[in-house]
């Protein structure tokens, strides 16, 4: 399997990050954007996963960054900076949602997990969707739609663990749920996404894309 294209802890980048943190803590606040820039998309995605509205997500992403700047002196090196940033963002987004809840029409999920077992659909074999397919807008859209169709409690856990790369413990702390709940929801989210994406790769949605099976867009 190909290596996922995620932000990994490159030693050189980590050192640069530590330098930037120290500089901003000393008062060179103009360097803050350089410090957070590698994570700006992930911060936005975390806010979006909770608020599901582009304007609110962008606003909360900005607020969270300002809060991180104001509180950077509290940041201690033993924590991972990106995790700290994501946790501030999620907290900010959850507070926003709590404030707005009375106005929201979306049904509030119950907090109980589904006890029943989940039976994954039976496909003869899995047709690998290669990472390169993500270059295509249609593929990204299909994946985004599948994720958006999950219930909130599954979506949030999946986004924090598998997209934002928080660990299970951090995901539990950030959302204020138990580790056991995170594991249950993560399992369900991953299996549901697999089922949602499986049907189509060779038989459905992918084959309708341009250039497939000899069709030409012109």
């Amino acid at each position: 399997m190909a290596e996922p294209n995620v932000v990994l802890n490159n030693p050189a980048e980590t050192t640069r990050e530590q330098e930037l943190i120290a500089a901003v803590q000393r008062g060179q606040t103009e360097l803050f954007y350089e410090l957070v820039r590698p994570y700006e998309k992930r911060v936005y995605a975390a806010a979006m996963a909770i608020l599901r509205n582009e304007t609110d997500a962008e606003d909360v992403a900005q607020e969270a960054m300002l809060k991180a700047l104001a509180n950077l002196r509290q940041f201690r090196a033993e924590a991972k900076f990106s995790t700290w940033l994501i946790q501030i963002t999620v907290n900010e987004a959850l507070m926003r949602r709590r404030r707005e809840r009375t106005r929201m029409t979306e049904a509030i999920d119950e907090h109980r997990d589904d006890e029943g077992e989940y039976t994954p659909r039976d496909f003869a074999d899995w047709r690998e969707i290669p990472s390169e397919a993500l270059e295509r807008k249609e593929v990204r859209q299909k994946l985004a739609d599948a994720l958006a169709s999950l219930d909130r409690k599954y979506r949030e856990v999946f986004v924090l663990r598998d997209m934002e790369q928080l660990n299970i413990q951090e995901t539990a702390e950030t959302l204020g749920i138990s580790v056991a709940s995170v594991k249950t929801r993560l399992l369900r989210a991953r299996l549901m996404l697999r089922d949602l994406l499986a049907g189509g790769w060779d038989g459905g949605w992918f084959s309708r894309l341009p250039f497939e099976k000899g069709t030409k867009p012109w």
Partner: protein, 210 residues
Amino acid sequence: MVNREAVNCELIWREISNYIEGDVDAGLCAAMDEHFRTCKRCASVLAGTRNVIQLYSDERMIEVPAGFGRRLERRLAQETRVQKSSWSTWSAWLVPVAALALIAGGLRWANSLTVAHPLRSEHAQAGHNIPPEMRVVVSEGAKEFHVPGCDFIHNQEKVRTLTAKEAMREGYVPCVRCMRKYLQIASVLHDSGESEAESGQEHDDRVHGQ
């Protein structure tokens, strides 16, 4: 050791996420490896689940609105300019004040070493199942500890970070806002540190959330 016979497909579907996390014991892991070699259906579930994780962990999956980075940079630049200008105005007399505060703080800190701390608020509850190693912040003169970045941190200028365990040992109580998930509803309603109206709001949220 796990009985190999006992590893059926249902068990695989329950544990597959933990298996991918490396969060199953060696015996179960070996039994699952064996099952994946022989069961085509479960092998397909494993391949698909791994593929899903790999795809969504890719940064290309995250799309931000056009101009997002530029607007963020501008907002941060604005904020930094405001901070810098106010700093230069106040800094002239802030230095001696800060020095005094440090001396006072140092004395209090020296005292604190010898004093055991009771709960800082008699009306608050200690909270339940707060992860002991969680990073929290407290500010000087306040009773509560908070998640970093909480809106309700008093005295933002004089805060320090510590673990929840240390904060509790020092007698701090969980903030009813950012730590509410660790509190019983009763403790939210009876918190003494905040106004009645605010507590009522929290209570409303709870009711809506159920």
